[in-house]
Amino acid sequence: MSSIVARGVSMVFPTRNGDVRALDDVTVEIPDSHFACIVGASGCGKSTLLNIMAGLIRPTAGTIHVGDRPVEAPGADRGMVFQSYTLYPWLRVRENVEFGPSLKGVSKTDRRRTANRLLEEMGLTEFARAYPRELSGGMKQRVAIARALANDPEVLLMDEPFGALDALTRAAAQRFLTDIWEQHRRTIAFVTHDIDEAIYLGDNVFVMSRRPGRIQEIVEIDIPRPRSLDDIGTPRFAELKHHILSLIFQEMGQDGGEPERP
């Protein structure tokens, strides 16, 4: 297991109308085995930050460390789950889960054992031989999480993984993810624009400011675990939500921006 540390990360995208500064000197430390949620208005660079952690984008300045190793390229130690359904349509569910281990040349029996165990945890055993198109959106994301876990990564990077799900499926997926996290205890960086989701899931919520993205505040979520639906109605939950929202709104009010609808 490992912590994720970003130090002084800046990202500038050159465009035709001049440079766009997406991230400005972002420093984040997600301790080992913590569940960190990153929230902010759309365009604040939260997905960019996650892609930099994954090694998919090279930052203009700054460094990322996972554990004590610097991140220079994508690697199997950092599993990723995207918002869009990224299962490989030509592979059956089980083959999708086995994809990472098969790249590393893990033997067929070992691969199969890992996949079967994960699919059972995900409640997808009976769909092992199905193709992704036969699954609902929620099931697809569970397979995507299983696929990331099959590599036994040190950290999980999740970019609005439940953003495309309807409200009910989404609530189920959130509970499911907390269960999985309790069992596997990975360090998770979870990007979302849904404040409720961030509070329900996270140990910490990193609130980002609008472009150029900076970490505005780190809000510690002191609601004890295991959390349940009942926590969402509590005054403490409402208080935290109000605090985070006001951080975002206060920031937006300055230039008349609109919040992204969850």
Partner: protein
């Protein structure tokens, strides 16, 4: 893209205007985007042919158009029979088929790898794409006189015409297919530990195949057009040649029989590619138009 794609999703019910009344024909078959029973669909498809043949029969047998210009369906059917039975038309059909087959295979064999490379690698795209895009606008039929000087009027020339007509657009369409593979599919593979070569071989290639086969099907349609044009200009065998000779002898029914044969062969190759698509890609959503 949510739960609507589950296979157990019930078909939606078309809205009823008057409660209690049985739905009329319009609401049963003409609700936008609602499916209709398969038997009805097949019946409608068949009746479209019946309607066309019917109008044709009325025009010719009713004496509205002189037989010389539009012989009746029965006369064309008889002509088709004599062509196959007495005039060795099967040899011409085979000659055309052979040319299409070779021209198509040679084009595809080069266009598919080149197209995928262009769609995948910016450097290769920068080198090839402008050139191919320019050549694409030179009609293959304009090359026929040149190709006759180079190769004569035999099979080589026909294959060359098909090749020129097919290769350039097919390459660009295959390039489009691989260029449009969502980047997330590649990114996920990298985060699962794939090397660049593994990403190409295990993600980009399999993700491209369905689109490639679909474009081959469309390319087959062009191949028929170019072949017949080439055969009409100069040939000693082939369906186009038969049509042209029939025109010289003013045998209208032979011309129409030849055209119908091309249509039937086109349908056949199209059906083959649709079958191939379903056979190779059981996981895919559907075949395009």
């Amino acid at each position: 893209m949510s739960t609507t794609e589950r296979r157990d999703a019930p078909a939606s019910v078309p809205p009823r205007t008057d409660a209690g009344r049985r739905p009329g024909i319009a609401s049963r078959y003409l609700t936008p985007k609602e499916p209709i029973p398969r038997a009805v669909a097949v019946g409608l498809a068949l009746s479209s042919f019946v309607v066309v043949v019917g109008i044709w029969a009325i025009l010719s047998y009713g004496g509205f158009v002189r037989e010389f210009f539009l012989p009746g369906p029965w006369k064309v059917a008889k002509a088709l029979y004599t062509m196959f039975a007495d005039e060795g038309f099967a040899r011409d059909v085979w000659a055309s088929f052979y040319r299409i087959g070779i021209g198509f295979l040679v084009s595809a064999a080069i266009a598919i790898p080149l197209g995928i490379a262009i769609g995948s690698f910016r450097a290769i795209q920068a080198f090839f794409e402008p050139l191919i895009a320019a050549v694409r606008y030179m009609p293959a039929s304009a090359f026929i006189p040149l190709l006759i000087i180079w190769f004569g009027i035999g099979n080589t020339e026909k294959v060359a015409v098909i090749y020129i007509g097919l290769f350039f657009p097919l390459t660009l369409m295959v390039a489009d297919v691989s260029a449009n593979i969502p980047k997330e599919l590649l990114h996920i593979a990298y985060t699962l530990g794939a090397s660049r070569w593994q990403v190409f071989r295990k993600v980009l290639l399999p993700a491209s195949w369905p689109g490639v086969v679909d474009n081959l099907r469309i390319g087959m349609g062009w191949a028929w057009t170019y072949l017949i044009v080439a055969e009409l200009v100069a040939a000693s065998t082939g369906i186009g040649h038969v049509i042209l000779s029939a025109s010289r002898f003013l045998q209208t029914e032979h011309i129409i029989a030849g055209i119908l044969t091309i249509g039937a062969l086109g349908l056949l190759t199209d059906a083959f590619f649709r079958w191939l698509y379903r056979f190779l890609f059981p996981y895919a959503e559907r075949v395009g138009r």
